[in-house]
């Protein structure tokens, strides 16, 4: 039986786990199923978690394995059927921001999953290259190259290198 402390630590990671799941699957509905399965699996395998290592990285590993085993095909069918990414989101506090989140999210869904996950793990989830490499079961060099390709592809999709009256940093300054 996992300890109450383990439960509290799981609870504290759910939002991050869910954010990763949504980023990976492109669907809130699928993400919530993924998170639920991951929590069940984490709970029943709690003795396999090594204290002192990153619980976040461990949970991401579990969720990612479930996604690639059972959900990847389904994800292509239902992507955005729940309309999450269809919402027009405004980025508050900066009138100059022209890279809106909807455009960004649409571009994100066009990346191969293995690039999208690396981008999310390194660029947003606060994990290290080493942790990302362990989660994705590849070397650090592969992580770096996927990251680089993901960024280049996004720059291309979002036309950030298109000539414009404004330099890039003014057009897209502070999307967050």
């Amino acid at each position: 039986m996992p300890s109450a402390r383990f439960k509290d630590e799981l609870l504290a990671e759910i939002k991050n786990l869910r954010a990763f799941a949504i980023s990976l699957s492109g669907s809130v509905t699928l993400a919530d199923d993924l998170v639920q399965e991951s929590l069940l699996r984490a709970w029943s395998n709690s003795e396999k978690f090594q204290p002192g290592t990153s619980l976040r990285a461990w949970l991401f590993t579990i969720l990612r394995n479930i996604y690639y085993s059972n959900y990847r095909k389904r994800a292509r069918e239902v992507q955005d059927s729940d309309g999450f990414y269809a919402r027009r989101l405004t980025v508050p506090g900066d009138q100059e921001s022209h890279l809106d989140l909807e455009d960004f999210r649409q571009a994100l869904t066009l990346l191969p999953a293995e690039q999208r996950e690396v981008l999310t793990l390194i660029g947003a989830s606060g994990l290290s290259y080493e942790e990302a490499a362990a989660i994705c079961e590849v070397g650090i060099g592969t992580i770096k190259s996927r990251l680089s390709r993901a960024r280049s592809k996004l720059v291309e999709l979002l036309k950030l290198e298109e000539t414009s009256d404004l330099p890039v940093e003014r057009r897209v300054r502070r999307a967050g």
Binding site: P2, K15, R18, E37, V155, P167, V172, A175
Partner: protein, 70 residues
């Protein structure tokens, strides 16, 4: 969010690398995207699920599914 982020997360430079400013913009958009997801309210069902697990109600459902953990 740390806006003085350096390029420490960059891969090795190469000839085809995009404009660093465009890469920075991607980084900020990614953070904004993720921050919004993380800040979304936590569905109550997950809190309830963990409470049930702790209470032992769901132990049988959670068994025998550890194969995917490497």
């Amino acid at each position: 969010m740390n806006v003085t982020r350096t390029n420490k997360t960059e891969g090795p430079p190469d000839d085809t690398a995009p404009d660093p400013k465009a890469v920075q913009a991607i980084g900020r958009a990614l953070e904004a995207h993720y921050a919004e997801l993380v800040q979304a309210p936590l569905p109550e069902k997950f809190v309830e699920l963990l409470a049930q697990l702790e209470a032992g109600d769901r132990v049988s459902d959670a068994q025998g599914s550890g194969d995917a953990i490497s």
